[in-house]
């Protein structure tokens, strides 16, 4: 079982994840149409790149944009969830050892156990906060569908099961297998669901940044758009 999950299924899920998301990223940009979108994407590369970088960077930092500042609960929930969700799978101690055994390459640094634990707990706390928000706030509630809860559950399940395995709650092997299955399910689902935002978030922010950088004032205002 372990061999199957960490062998065949590992390679399948990782391949689907990386190839799938790469294809979606490429298709996004191939599908941009300067005339329909009304943005001269290629005419002003400097302003385009400048606008794109600013658009991505400012939204990656907590409280740096008006949007984040306006909604502190969401900002805390969002970053608590996403920081751990991105860092732990790559740099968690056990994962780093596993990755080295698979591709014989060691990632540049490894989180110690305590940091891994804290980040994993933050993911769970962030997910709880995001769920509460969806259940309580009318402006989020009206938009939320069952699939949104499912995606949230799919995203947080590897962390819950990972912590159960880490703390050896009951049967360690059960949690370990469950953890691997959840993680691989997440990888396989990513290109085909809203989880594609792993890359399409960047794609969309780059596009809007270019739009504002090239067409909507980026060449007029010294400071550019104040996200």
């Amino acid at each position: 079982m372990y061999k199957f999950l960490t062998g065949f299924m590992f390679w399948i899920s990782v391949s689907i994840f990386f190839i799938g998301l790469f294809v979606r990223f490429i298709l996004y940009f191939k599908g941009l149409d300067w005339r329909l979108d009304r943005v001269a994407y290629k005419a002003y590369p400097f302003y385009g790149i400048k606008g794109a970088l600013k658009s991505v960077f400012k939204w990656m930092i907590p409280f740096l944009t008006h949007g984040w500042r306006q909604q502190s609960f969401m900002t805390i929930a969002f970053f608590a969830f996403h920081i751990g969700a991105v860092i732990v799978p790559f740099f968690g101690l056990a994962h780093n050892i596993f990755i080295r055994s698979k591709i014989c390459i060691s990632l540049p640094f490894t989180l110690n156990q305590l940091t891994t634990d804290i980040l994993s707990w933050l993911v769970i706390i962030g997910a709880v906060m995001l769920t509460i928000r969806r259940l309580v706030l009318p402006q989020a509630k009206i938009l939320t569908k069952k699939s949104d809860y499912f995606i949230l559950f799919l995203s947080v399940a590897p962390f819950i099961t990972g912590l159960c395995a880490r703390y050896e709650v009951g049967n360690y092997l059960f949690w370990l297998y469950f953890h691997i299955i959840c993680g691989e399910a997440l990888l396989i689902a990513a290109p085909f669901t809203k989880l594609s935002h792993f890359v399409l978030f960047f794609a969309s922010r780059i596009q809007l940044g270019m739009d504002y950088g090239i067409k909507r004032g980026g060449m007029k205002s010294k400071r550019g758009i104040n996200w």
Binding site: L27, Y28, F29, K30, G31, L32, D33, W34, R35, L36, D37, R38, V39, A40, A43, Y44, S55, W59, H66, G67, W68, Q70, Q71, M74, F78, R133, L137, P138, Q139, A140, K141, I142, L143, T144, K145, D148, K194, S196, H197, L200, F201, A203, S204, R205, Q207, L208, G209, I214, K215, R216, G217, G218, K220, S221, K222, R223, G224, I225, N226, W227
Partner: protein, 462 residues
């Protein structure tokens, strides 16, 4: 009472059609006929398949449905945080639903969608600034308006407005002859105070080609005179064109992309015919958006620019004050609490927030200017943008939405609101009419004309 087919998928192309539509007071029969308008679902889906590409498709798909856009929308705030006014909900329940159903929607759905597209969104694009995923719901509503227009589900006034552009190449029934006659007549009225004030028509290779909003010809001819006076006092080598003088585009509000192209083509042809160094448009936000920002794309110009450098009137004013072409008499600076309405079309979507503040530095006595909160590109729409001002069907909704702008103005304590944009000017006027706050509002031109120093050589002989 008029009769005949008023509401259809066909654009208004003749004066006769236009007259018939105009006779239908408030579009009563037009909207009645709309209830029986068939939805061409095949055409709808075909249009979507050929025009809804990567950008909008992805926006619809990756929306996290987090509702972070809610607080950015003045409709949501003005309507007691009604969740059905959340931008994401509005677009997902209209365009999103049409796409999910592959265009198989009925008449009632399309009429509701029309109400949302024109009555619950002004395409101000503010929500785009507040979405982590970079989703521009305003841009999607603009796209949706295009789909609705093709199917004939468009507010009466928008159908008329787009028709005007197709027939008169102007948003109103103003002919080329009427434009020139009015401009020359009004200049004559001021010639006594400003000797040698002339309206140069069709002068080739001028430094400035001035374009306007047809409303100025029809309703505010003084504005034309003020523009002429300021160019005259600044010693500018300027001209107007006898054809292609209209900078605005109600067709853009209507989603009639064919008419948008027809309209802007006139202006670009005038530029190519007269070869001015620059084009300067009047104090109008959407006119600038249509002719300078979006127009090049309608015309398929790969560089995204009009044929000659084109700027908004506020850019010219700032330049004229900065270079000393226009000098303000310090005694006449504004000494009353004053604020400014940042136009969505040339501030949030045109980057001119600093330019207007520079002008204020010259025009307003220090200590009298109070910015609205929020301001600049974060400012709220005046409440009447995107064609909203002109649509009678949604008047109550518009007036409800006005409460956000009203409160913003009240908080500044200003008695004068600078509105260098026709739509904003109308909206602030109507806010005052509805709420009676005791404020004044003004374009920059009339204030400047009374403020600038007249060089000795230009003064009338006493």
């Amino acid at each position: 009472m008029c009769s005949g087919k008023l509401c259809s998928k066909e654009p208004v192309k003749t004066k006769e059609q236009l007259r018939t539509l105009l006779k239908d007071t408030s579009g009563k029969l037009y909207y009645k006929q709309m209830q029986d308008l068939e939805v061409d679902t095949d055409l709808l889906w075909k249009t979507i398949r050929t025009t809804l590409k990567s950008r909008i498709k992805t926006w619809l798909e990756i929306c996290s449905r987090c509702g972070m856009c809610a607080e950015s929308c003045f409709f949501y705030l003005a309507n007691d945080k009604d969740p059905t006014q959340v931008p994401s909900y509005k677009i997902q329940s209209t365009l999103g639903e049409i796409v999910r159903r592959k265009g198989k929607v009925d008449n009632a759905f399309m009429r509701t969608t029309m109400d949302v597209a024109w009555g619950k969104c002004t395409c101000c694009n503010r929500c785009a600034m507040y979405c982590p995923n970079g989703i521009d719901t305003g841009a999607m509503f603009s796209y949706l308006r295009g789909l609705l227009y093709l199917q004939g589900f468009v507010p009466w006034e928008m159908k008329i407005g787009a028709g005007m552009h197709r027939i008169y190449y102007a948003q109103m029934d103003v002919t080329d002859e009427e434009f020139i006659e009015t401009f020359e007549w009004i200049a004559e009225e001021y010639e006594e105070d400003y000797p040698n004030l002339k309206i140069p028509v069709d002068v080739k290779n001028a430094d400035i080609l001035y374009t306007i909003n047809a409303r100025e010809v029809k309703h505010y001819p003084e504005d034309l005179a003020y523009a002429a006076i300021l160019f005259h006092l600044a010693g500018e080598n300027w001209t107007v064109t006898s054809k292609g003088w209209e900078e605005t585009s109600l067709a853009m509000f209507a989603g009639d992309w064919e008419a948008c192209k027809i309209q802007v083509k006139q202006v670009y042809e005038a530029m190519e015919r007269l070869k001015p160094k620059r084009m300067i448009g009047t104090e109008c936000g959407h006119a600038h958006r249509a002719t300078v920002i979006e127009g090049p794309y309608w015309m398929g110009r790969k560089d995204g620019k009009p044929p000659v450098e084109s700027i908004h009137y506020v850019e010219w004013i700032a330049e004229a004050l900065r270079t000393g072409k226009l000098k303000i008499n310090p005694e006449k600076r504004i000494k009353t609490p004053v604020t400014i309405q940042d136009s969505c079309n040339y501030v949030r979507n045109g980057g001119l927030k600093d330019i207007t503040r520079e002008i204020i530095g010259y025009m307003v006595e220090p200590g009298y200017f109070v910015d609205m909160e929020p301001n600049g590109e974060n400012n709220f729409c005046c409440g009447g943008g995107g064609g909203f001002n002109g649509i009678g069907l949604y008047r109550d909704w518009r007036n409800k939405g006005f409460t956000i702008k009203r409160d913003q103005i009240i908080k500044t304590g200003a008695k004068l609101v600078l509105t260098p944009c026709h739509n904003c000017w109308d909206a602030i006027r109507d806010i005052e009419e509805v709420f009676k706050m005791g404020i004044n509002w003004s374009f920059l031109k009339p204030l400047l004309v009374n403020m600038v120093e007249i060089p000795e050589s230009m003064k009338p002989a006493s």
